[in-house]
């Protein structure tokens, strides 16, 4: 499996809005903890270590 970096969200504006809304009212520390939980949940959904490695790599180098 390979990581998809092509547009894949059904409703990009809506998803982005949900993300911001979820953080609303959280302190910075709470937001960090929230993000960590979110990453773990999404990571489990993806499941495949190779795909996650590609995602880590893409996140580490946004300029490439």
């Amino acid at each position: 499996m390979t990581l998809t970096l092509d547009p894949n969200l059904s409703d990009p504006d809506g998803v982005y809005c949900d993300l911001l809304a979820a953080h609303e009212g959280l302190s910075e520390a709470e937001s960090h903890a929230f993000n960590a939980r979110l990453i773990l949940i999404l990571g489990n959904h993806i499941g495949d270590r190779e795909v996650l490695k590609q995602a880590l790599d893409a996140a580490a180098r946004p300029d490439r």
Binding site: H32, A33, A36, R37, I39, L40, I41, N44
Partner: protein, 541 residues
């Protein structure tokens, strides 16, 4: 001159003068073992049972006080069973299956080890290390009466080693003064601080963890269940960053507090301070007696090579891991299991010395796996940065509600033996559809057979295991014999033998090493292939 460095739990080998001390020139022995800890005694037992004369030198007269290791894994018990020493361990040990994980003041989840059916031994027993060692020494005593050429010399401290091409000369100090002794082969089993390693100027590299752990073994009459309880960031006062409660025999519990790096050890070890921590944890009104306490720090490191000519290192002298996952003594016993038959064949002149290089290759692989696992546990239990702390707690928060996060919780992965994948002695993997768990290099899993178990039928030499397959009763190559063990899947209830050894195949032939690791496997017996694999498994190329 020869003061004890620690108190004794059991005085089992009091000093006695031996003839070597009066000899004009150093007396030469085939094998000398330096160190009478669990690994040294086990090495002597393995070799002695093969009829190889072996002398153990230890600077004390028995087993040190204080438990250290308490968890002994199934593989260790299987190996000890091969030596005839497992029954009293199992008899005395505490079997546990249920573990509970807490974070702050709430239970995150509990797990059952759910051991697979059809094994003679449980996944783990809890047993104080001094008992484990005593049962090994008692087995040595019994073997001696049956003629095993083993000698244990208490209060014999090795002060210097001179390593020659084909032997080693040792300076030994005793209460009656020094003497010299020579060994064709020297086993360095002198523990984590290994004086031998230092005498030889050898490396010992790895990662040092800056944390202190306070251990207390306490005797309680309170009715705590036989479970493993682990707290991350416990809420009880001054408990430290993590805490472990574990049951041992004799009504004794092990409590382990992670207390941080900047501590005053002498102060922390005062009884009143240990009691303050314990009281906060156990609650008011729980009566207990402190049997033993200690503060330890740990390292994850190993020697680059375990063989240096005529010197072979084993156990803590060769490698050290964090205690999470109980891999210290358990991996040392696997060293002995690996080394015993190889050194036996080399001393008997039946295999080339290069067979001993495969001890180094295979057990370095084992040590790396252990270090990797225990380092990962350590990083989870004691996060090294704010972000790793954040992720750790995110896992714990999710684990309470969501099953997916529970496998991520790492409070120590239980010690299981490694497979020598791509090992130098592995032969053909030619059993069509054979299960992955019994591939060449893997340790044989146990299975019920007739009214006993498979592993106890394997013996101590090479075995040719045939399952519903024809073969001659023995195969010989260069003085080494593999004896056939003929089994049928119909002898194994619930299909365990077929599931573990045949997979999709209807018959199978396995060549199994004396340490019960698979050397090679096929669909059917073919004399040339088996003989070649036996040849290869003894490093004869």
């Amino acid at each position: 001159m020869l003061d004890d460095r620690y108190g004794l739990a059991f005085k089992l080998y009091p000093y006695a003068k031996c003839a070597d001390q009066d000899a004009g020139a150093p007396v030469r022995h085939p094998v000398v073992v330096l160190g009478g800890g669990p690994i040294g005694i086990a090495t002597a037992l393995d070799l002695g049972l093969q009829g190889i004369p072996v002398v153990v030198l230890d600077d004390h007269e028995g087993i040190g006080q204080g438990s250290r290791a308490i968890c002994f894994a199934k593989r260790t018990l299987e190996i000890c069973d091969r030596w005839g020493a497992a029954a009293p361990m199992l008899g005395k040990g505490v079997v546990w299956n249920l573990g509970k994980v807490f974070h702050e003041d709430r239970k995150v989840f509990e797990f059952n080890l759910l051991p697979e059916d059809g094994h003679k031994f449980p996944a783990f027993i809890n047993l104080q290390q001094p008992y484990f060692e005593r049962f090994l020494v008692e087995r040595v005593r019994e073997a001696q009466t049956q003629g095993a050429p083993i000698e244990i010399r208490g209060k014999n401290r090795v002060d210097a080693a001179e390593v020659r091409d084909d032997h080693v000369l040792l300076d030994v100090m005793t209460p009656e003064g020094p003497y010299r002794v020579a060994a064709d082969w020297l086993i360095g089993a002198d523990g984590a601080g290994s004086p031998l390693r230092k005498m030889m100027g050898l490396d010992f590299e790895g990662r040092v963890f800056t944390d202190n752990f306070l251990i207390a073994d306490i005797r309680m009459s309170a009715n705590f269940p036989t479970e493993r309880w682990f707290w991350f960031e416990p809420s009880f006062k001054s408990s430290g960053a993590s805490c472990l409660l574990h049951k041992q025999p004799d009504g004794i519990w092990r409590v382990d507090f992670q207390i941080g790096w900047d501590v005053d050890r002498a102060k922390e070890l005062k009884e009143e301070n240990i009691r303050a921590r314990l009281d906060a944890m156990l609650g008011d009104g729980v009566e207990y007696e402190i049997v033993w306490s200690s503060i330890y720090t740990f390292q994850c490191r190993r020697m680059k090579r375990f063989r240096h000519g005529r010197v072979l290192f084993a156990g803590d002298a060769a490698h050290q891991v964090s205690p999470f996952g109980a891999r210290g003594a358990n991996s040392g016993i696997q060293d002995v299991d690996n080394l015993g038959w190889k050194l036996g064949l080399v001393v008997a002149g039946k295999a080339p010395e290069s067979l001993l290089d495969t001890y180094c290759a295979e057990r370095c692989h084992g040590a790396d796996e252990n270090i990797l696992n225990s380092t990962r546990s350590t990083d989870f239990i004691t996060p090294k940065s704010a972000i790793s702390h954040l992720f750790r707690n995110a896992v714990l928060d999710l684990a309470e509600r969501h099953a997916f996060a529970r496998p991520l919780v790492n409070s120590g992965r239980l010690s299981v033996p490694c497979s020598y994948d791509a090992g130098p002695l592995n032969g053909a993997d030619a059993l069509t559809g054979g299960p992955a768990r019994t591939r060449p290099g893997a340790p044989c899993p146990d299975a019920p057979v007739a009214d006993g178990y498979l592993l106890e039928r394997l013996g101590t030499n090479f075995t040719l295991l045939t399952i519903d397959a024809d073969a001659p009763e023995a195969v010989e190559d260069g003085g080494i014999t593999a004896t056939r063990l003929a089994l049928s899947t119909s002898e194994s209830p619930a299909g365990a033998l077929a599931e573990r050894y045949l997979g999709d195949a209807s018959s199978g032939v396995y060549l199994i090493r004396p340490d019960q690791h698979v050397a090679a496997r096929w669909d059917v017996f073919e004399a040339d292939a088996v003989r070649a694999a036996l040849h290869h498994a003894c490093a004869k190329e």
